[in-house]
């Protein structure tokens, strides 16, 4: 027994050394490589490179090298933007032979530094692959190139009365390939489930250039191991997704939303239970924002604010959305719920506002969706996307704030605010620490403090944002040694040379 334990420990040590020494065995892209790419890619706009043969001005590579938050900066000299899966395959094969690292990139809206290079890996952008390959209006199955922007797909299926099964604040820029690679969650997960369920098939270019075509459009297919599940959420470390087949649900005939003002955070959980019970199948979103997050969103003009009276005494807000097949039926359920909430002996809410038309519906959502942008405008954000028990949400925010205060970091020049908001229905809290600038002092005060706090609640250090480059060292807080060892084995099988998004997910 102990021999087996020693053997598996040796193996995991070998694999871990394997990977970390490997990444230093990767080659940098040379001018000859750049010339080769220029030859094999059909359009001159597909190659951006500061290397001599191409001589693109360095500023043009900035948007690819820098992440959305301005926290991670890569040093890639070359960005490739293939137009077909075949081109992707040829690029990958060449890079694998030459041991050149590749960072697959979609909309570059990720929040954990997974979409930009750590050093000078080649950025392979899917932005030029934007074709919708097919859509069946009867089944709702959509097949699209990985570079299609989520909002474009939403617009594409809308005339057919369908919607995408996921929705997130970055919808105007994020691409479906990236969504699938990061197993994005978002605002609709409560109702439509995760991508592990709604993705029916994938077309993936493996690290040796082979095209794995599992792009079927079957709702049910139990034939062997379901390989696509590995790529969903692998963050581009096992292969590059080039095509996605996804099930789109029918568009709701009636949508309503309401923002409720709560006097105390402790009311969120009983409120959630009540809402779930009374609205049942028409509940499609249950989002929470604390008072500071609301004030920030209003300050940065994200949506129209509620009146002074309405927000007085509110410690936090909850946005409830309903989606159903019949307007009158939904409105009746919603009205009954709101009446019972207001007339209860001990009301869980102070008050609330109900959208009266689509414009107000969007405005109320904007207050929630706009928090992320408001945070970016307010300062530099340390984002902790955690899954913890609902009853501990406030505690996590308060204790983090206390930690910073005790280190003397809570002031206008360092950490300006600590806020919490998120997908209550999914047990997912977005803890944001807004600083004037990213500094090692603040970083050290927060990590490993936050991760240990999460681990103490047996939570996840990354509910939906993924690991990227940010949390590779924190993986062990939520996955045990055996799990991590097996992840490394799988990585080694798919990518023995370690070229695919090196340094991400696994150290």
């Amino acid at each position: 027994m102990s021999r087996l334990w020693h053997w598996s420990r040796r193996c995991s040590l070998i694999f871990s050394r394997h990977n970390s020494t490997l990444s230093s065995r990767l080659s940098s892209i040379t001018d000859a490589d750049a010339l080769h790419f220029a030859k094999i890619l059909s359009s001159p706009t597909s190659v951006l490179s500061t290397l001599p043969s191409i001589s693109t001005p360095p500023e043009e590579l900035d948007i690819y090298n820098n992440d959305w938050m301005g926290k991670y900066r890569g040093k890639a000299t070359t960005v490739l933007k293939p137009k077909t899966t075949q081109e992707v395959s040829e690029i990958v094969k060449w890079c694998n032979d030459r041991r050149i690292g590749i960072v697959p990139q979609g909309g570059n809206t990720g929040l954990v530094g997974g979409s930009v290079p750590l050093r000078d890996e080649v950025i392979l952008s899917l932005s030029n692959m934007t074709q919708v390959r097919s859509f069946d209006p009867v089944s709702g199955i959509l097949v699209a190139d990985a570079g299609c922007i989520l909002q474009s797909l939403t617009d594409y299926v809308a005339p057919h009365n369908h919607i995408m099964p996921l929705d997130l604040g970055a919808k105007g820029s994020c691409q479906i390939g990236g969504n699938v690679s990061t197993n994005a969650g978002g605002l609709r997960l409560l109702r439509y489930g995760s991508l592990h369920g709604s993705v029916l098939g994938l077309e993936v270019v493996l690290p040796d250039g082979t095209i794995l075509d599992q792009l079927n459009t079957l709702r049910k297919d139990n034939t062997g191991y379901d390989l696509k599940q590995l790529f969903i959420g692998a963050e581009g470390t096992l292969g590059i997704i080039t095509g996605v087949s996804i099930l789109t649900p029918p568009a709701p005939q009636a949508s309503n939303n309401v923002i409720l003002a709560l006097p105390r955070f402790e009311n969120v959980l009983p409120l959630y239970k009540t809402v779930k019970r009374q609205l049942s199948e028409i509940l499609s979103a249950f989002e929470f924002i604390d008072r500071t997050a609301y004030d920030l969103a209003v300050k940065h003009g994200q949506g129209r604010a509620l009146s002074e009276e309405e927000v007085e005494g509110a410690e936090c807000f909850v946005l409830v959305e309903t989606s159903g097949g019949r307007r009158e039926h939904d409105e009746e359920k919603l009205n009954d719920l709101l009446e019972s909430l207001l007339e209860a002996d001990e009301p869980l809410i102070n008050t609330g506002v109900l959208a009266q038309n689509p414009a107000q519906f969007s405005s109320l959502w904007a207050l929630r969706e706009g928090v992320t942008e408001a945070v970016s405008k307010e300062g530099k954000a340390y984002k902790y996307d955690i899954s913890v028990p609902l009853s501990t949400f406030k505690e996590c925010v308060d204790r983090t704030r206390e930690q910073l205060r005790s280190k003397g970091l809570l002031n206008e020049d360092q950490v300006k605010a600590v806020i919490g908001y998120g997908h209550v229905g999914d047990g997912n809290l977005h803890l944001n620490v807004i600083a004037k600038a990213y500094t090692p002092e603040i970083q050290n005060a927060l990590e490993p403090f936050v991760y240990e706090l999460v681990a103490s609640h047996r939570g996840s250090v990354s509910a939906e944002h993924g690991i990227g480059a940010m949390k590779t060292h924190a993986l062990h807080y939520s996955k045990d040694e055996t799990s991590i060892a097996w992840m490394r084995k799988i990585k080694a099988i798919f990518d023995p040379n370690g070229i695919m998004n090196p340094g991400k997910v696994l150290e």
Binding site: L260, E310, L338, L342, T351, L354, Q356, P358, S362, L364
Partner: protein, 270 residues
């Protein structure tokens, strides 16, 4: 014995249920109109009108006699929802002049005559001091009702209002109007007509307690016959078409390709 006129104020706000402004409208195959099977809501300018009436009430000095805001709509049975929204925003009571579902949409002259009839009817109990209307409805963009009503009643009018300041003692109002050259201020005596422009205010969300209260507020139902008016259309819509589709541009990969495309489109070098 009626309370002294200087302290009473009755405001009438006609509102219209129109296609919601966020809806993507489609012309029907017969080219006689647009697809009406879409989300409807209160005309945005009418929302602004209700909001202004509520704000006027909120601005009244403490101890003033209460102000009554009556919302009014002319439309099919479903229009009563628009009245509920008005009541939820702060109107005190509402009047629904009901017309059949299949009837054509009333035209401004018909609407103005109906509003005049209602004001005449109300005279038996109390006078209407001010009618606040939206400057135009976003479905027909006609923008005539307020002005026609002022003509029929012989009342002063201040249209395209971006600010309304009441002087209760003097029984008049100073209204800032948006005109092509900028802003114009007019002083108008009560009773008067005001039509709202976009910048007058931003309508509030309907709060839950008000929505609950609104359910108990009275809605009076009337028919065109009760008012002695007819909504017989005076205009006939001949054709409705979409504007010409915008043709997309194309990217070219080289100067030669650009020159070729220009030649194909009929441009020649000078």
């Amino acid at each position: 014995m009626r309370p002294s006129p200087a302290r009473w104020l009755n405001i009438l706000v006609p509102v219209k249920r129109a296609v919601d402004y966020a809806v993507k409208i489609r012309v029907n195959p017969q080219q006689t109109g647009v697809d009406m099977n879409v989300k409807h809501s209160m005309n945005p300018f009418d929302e602004i009108a209700i909001e202004e009436a509520v704000r006027i009430r909120e601005r009244l000095p403490k101890g003033s006699e209460p102000l009554t805001i009556t919302a009014l709509t002319i439309g099919p049975p479903k229009s009563v929802e628009t009245l509920r929204t008005a009541l939820a925003m702060g109107a005190d009571n509402a009047i629904h002049v009901e017309i059949p579902e299949s009837a054509p949409a009333p035209e401004p002259l018909g609407v103005a005559k109906a509003i005049r009839a209602i004001i005449d009817k109300q005279k038996e109990k109390e006078n209407v001091d001010m009618v606040i209307l939206g400057k135009q409805a976003i479905d027909d963009d006609l923008g005539q009702t307020g002005q026609m009503l002022a003509g029929l009643l012989g009342w002063g009018q201040a249209t395209y209002a971006s600010k309304v300041e009441l002087d209760l003692e003097q029984r008049n109002a100073v209204v800032t109007r948006e005109i092509d050259g900028g802003l114009e201020q007019v002083r108008v005596r009560f009773p008067m007509i005001v039509t709202t422009d976009l910048r007058l205010n931003e309508p509030r969300y309907a709060s839950l307690p008000n929505i609950m209260k609104a359910k108990k507020k009275p809605v009076t139902k009337l028919t065109p016959a009760d008012l002695g008016v007819s909504f017989e259309p005076q205009m006939e819509v001949l054709k409705v078409t979409e504007p010409p589709k915008r043709v997309g541009g194309a990217k070219v990969d080289s100067v030669d390709e650009l020159v070729e495309k220009l030649k194909a489109a009929g441009f020649t070098a000078v």
